[in-house]
Amino acid sequence: MRLGANLVHLPIVRAVAVNIAMRADFDVDAISDLELAVDEACSSLITHAVAGSVLSCRFTIGADDIMFTVTVTSAEDATPSRSTFGWRVLSTLTDDVTSWAEQDEDRLHQVHIEFVKRRPVTAR
């Protein structure tokens, strides 16, 4: 999913996240956690994105997990620090979160955040 790297597009990404999690029959806590995590990850990267660039989001739906990867183009290596509040939010809401960046040929940075939300183990 490719959108402009602008906060106004966030509701679309959130709605997609909620829809995927609902249809995967995640419980209501996990649905909301995924939505909040998507919101947090996208917002923090959009802040560092080059004006007019693209926000690229990918949902990968597994049997028991949903993986989300978001990438923006930034003028600096905007990999979020592991000790910020935002990172604590992401790591609380998701099961596994990583972030990295690489420099492209135009000396711009592709900054990524990726996390997995697993289906909670339920006694069914």
């Binding site: 209501v28 909040l36 917002s43 802040t47 509040f85 935002g86 609380t92």
Partner: protein, 272 residues
């Protein structure tokens, strides 16, 4: 809105003049004096037209007038209880923002954008209610399939009901004024100052933002991101629905993000 309230205050200030001495009387009585209740009641009754007037100003936004009067009266009672005549300000200039804050909070917490069709509102409420009941039964958050089965409706309808919650707070009212969230019986579990964010790199910027949050939001943030409780556990502890917890978390995180981006921003616009 604010201007309107000020003119209301000016226009009607004389009709309340006879009540003013009662505040000194109330302040002079000790906390366990049986006479307190009488004086307090006289004050609340006397200022009731103020609450009614403010409620009236918020009418026509999809909340029944009687509910608004009730909410405004709660705000008035709070104002009467908290007003300190010794501080020198007059009661009306203290009460008007307090009452309006209470009404705004009501809109923010319990009202719908008017464009949400009735069927969806009802669907959302029944899904939310079923979710709460099931969480108690199961001891964990239910899934949409479980909610559908419990209510005897299709999963698609549950999805609709869950999504409708997004519009719940889309009211155009601004965030409430100061004093929001005070007096809520939530502070017991966690000390006020303990936001739990001491280990965080940007906690110097974060702490004041967290302190500015209404008490309930502060509490919920700490329970989720410091004590690592699930939304369902928080809902149970705070006495609101999981969906409400979800909305409050979403809004509060957005507010903190904005505040961290721009530490100079005071009273930033509410995140939609």
């Amino acid at each position: 809105m604010r201007q309107a309230a000020t003119s209301q205050q000016r226009r009607s200030s004389h009709e309340y003049d006879h009540l003013v001495p009662l505040f000194d009387e109330l302040a002079a009585l000790s906390d366990d004096d049986p006479g307190r209740e009488t004086v307090r009641e006289q004050l609340v009754t006397g200022y009731l037209p103020l609450a009614e007037h403010i409620a009236h100003r918020f009418a026509g936004r999809g909340t029944p007038k009687e509910d608004l009067v009730q909410v405004a009266t709660v705000g008035l009672i709070n104002a009467v209880d908290r007003f300190q005549p010794s501080k020198g300000s007059d009661f009306l200039s203290y009460a008007v923002p307090t009452v309006m804050g209470e009404v705004r909070r009501h809109f923010r917490d319990a009202s719908w954008a008017m464009r949400v069709p009735r069927r969806l509102k009802e669907l959302h409420l029944s899904v939310s209610g079923a979710s709460t009941r099931l969480a108690q039964e199961l001891g964990r958050a239910p899934t949409p399939a479980e909610i559908a089965k419990h209510l005897g409706i299709s999963k698609e309808e549950v999805f609709e009901g869950l999504e409708a919650g997004q519009a719940y707070h889309a009211s155009s009212l601004d965030e409430s004024l100061g004093g929001d969230g005070e007096g809520m019986p939530l502070g017991e579990a966690i000390g006020e100052q303990d936001s739990g964010m001491e280990g965080v790199e940007n906690h110097e910027a974060l702490e004041p933002l967290i302190r500015e949050l209404p008490q309930r939001e502060r509490h919920i943030i700490a329970l989720r991101f410091y004590y690592n409780l699930t939304q369902t556990q928080i809902a149970e502890r705070v006495g609101i629905s999981q969906m409400h917890v979800s909305r409050l978390l979403s809004r509060t995180l957005a507010r903190l993000r904005e505040g961290l981006l721009d530490p100079e921003a005071e009273d930033e616009e509410p995140a939609s």
